[in-house]
């Protein structure tokens, strides 16, 4: 039986929004139903979100990139957005999510891709790039990390970080109360009023029930805090391989990002990738796409034009 039967299964919910007029598409990856959009033509730009977002985070990127002659693919990570949301914590692990992305991009026969990586879209997107270098052309890295052990002092603190996803607290706060998709994202943008009026309900609404929010407290638990952490070896591999890679790279960071602050994180990426351009600083906290979406899209266009030689 052919596994790619997702269209027969159909989407779990119908999403309609003025800023997201794109045809929902689905592929079966590793047994899960993954949602993505695939717009425009040309070399692909793959836009990868993290926790607790989904493709909607990139709504202001799609038109500028496609208008510049690029194909834009925006997947929703399994567990988020319009993709299937497994209800077992054991369904989620870093390698599995890299394999999910790999499954999708191989089915789409993506080649010469620019991987735009944000938050957990960083370890997963970079994991794909480093294990499929023949399919990747360039990297754009934003507010993420790719090395073992605490990415920042922030992640070692009980308040506000570790308490939020502690045993039982995570399922209660992020599950019953949807704290990350609501208040958490709200606190992580610069223009909070605009976010509240235009986007917050979309992020909250796509995770309508506690069981659909499982990944919002599972991902924080995958951030390595000590040598016993799950995923430690994968992060060690990411750091080691990234250091060897020669992909043209652009770093884009939110000027106001206090969690993945650019002085710590962009600097670390520059040490790993000395050839990287940037960091280009834009208005934004962790979810910088919300505050500077169009501007970042234009920076990506400029970067790709430059490295492809179509612009001086």
């Amino acid at each position: 039986m052919k596994l790619d039967t997702a269209k027969k299964v159909g989407p779990p919910q119908h999403f309609v929004h003025d800023e997201w007029p794109y045809e929902p598409k689905f592929k079966r990856v590793n047994g899960w139903r993954m949602h993505y959009i695939d717009e425009g033509g040309g070399d692909p730009v793959v836009l990868l979100h993290g926790n607790p977002a989904w493709g909607f985070l990139y709504r202001k990127f799609v038109k500028p990139l496609t208008a510049a002659g690029r194909r834009v693919i925006v997947p929703d990570m399994i567990g988020f957005g319009l993709s299937e949301k497994p209800v077992s914590e054991r369904a989620h692990n870093l390698d599995g999510h890299i394999a999910n992305l790999t499954g999708l991009l191989r089915q789409l026969d993506v080649r010469n891709a620019t991987m735009v990586c944000h938050d957990w879209g960083g370890p997963t997107g970079l994991g794909f790039a480093l294990s499929n270098p023949d399919r990747v052309h360039a990297l754009v890295i934003m507010s993420t990390w790719a090395w073992p052990l605490p990415p920042a002092e922030f992640h070692k603190r009980i308040f506000p970080w570790r308490m939020m996803h502690a045993p039982l607290v995570g399922p209660y706060l992020l599950g019953r109360h949807n704290a990350l998709a609501g208040r958490g994202m709200y606190l992580s943008v610069v223009d909070r009023r605009k976010f509240r009026d235009e986007a917050q309900s979309v992020y909250e609404g796509v995770l309508p029930d506690p069981a659909t929010r499982l990944l919002t407290w599972t991902w924080p638990r995958w951030i390595p805090l000590d040598e016993t952490a799950r995923g430690l070896e994968r992060f060690q591999w990411l750091e080691r391989e990234l250091k060897k890679s020669k992909f043209p790279t652009l770093l884009v960071w939110g000027r106001e990002d206090e969690v993945f602050d650019h002085k710590t994180f962009a600097t670390r990426f520059k040490e790993l990738l000395p050839h990287a351009e940037g960091p280009e600083l834009v208005t934004g906290r962790h979810f910088l796409q919300e505050d500077s979406g169009v501007e970042i899209a234009e920076k990506i266009n400029d970067f790709l034009d430059r490295i492809d030689g179509s612009r001086p």
Partner: protein, 134 residues
Amino acid sequence: MSEIEVIEGPGLDGKRRALVLTEDRIGHYPEFRDFFVKRFSLDTIGLARSGYIRAPSGTIYSLVFVGRSGKRFPDGLEIYALVDALEPLNDAGVDTDLWALLRWMIQGVGGEWKVEDLDATGRLYQLPFLSQPG
């Protein structure tokens, strides 16, 4: 908010167990698993019976500990409200009861885990039953 009381197995006639919270990884921070092991003598009781608590509302909750092959016990925890068999849950009451349970748990875990930090987290995320920050 008043205390959580650990009780012996209550009568279940006319009651049903309503699942209200699931934790798949109680030992994510091992001290949380250790708390439940100690508080409910799980190292000797194992899977033999559930734990029971009475919450501030008076509702009794059953704590069902979950084991998984190859993992230290317990690996997970399911919390059920014991409610009248045919009656719906009082969601708001469950919410405040669970918050009381979390405070009791954090107090019991101790060490670097402080109830003040839990309360601050609840206020940061604006739990509706907590006073709002200024």
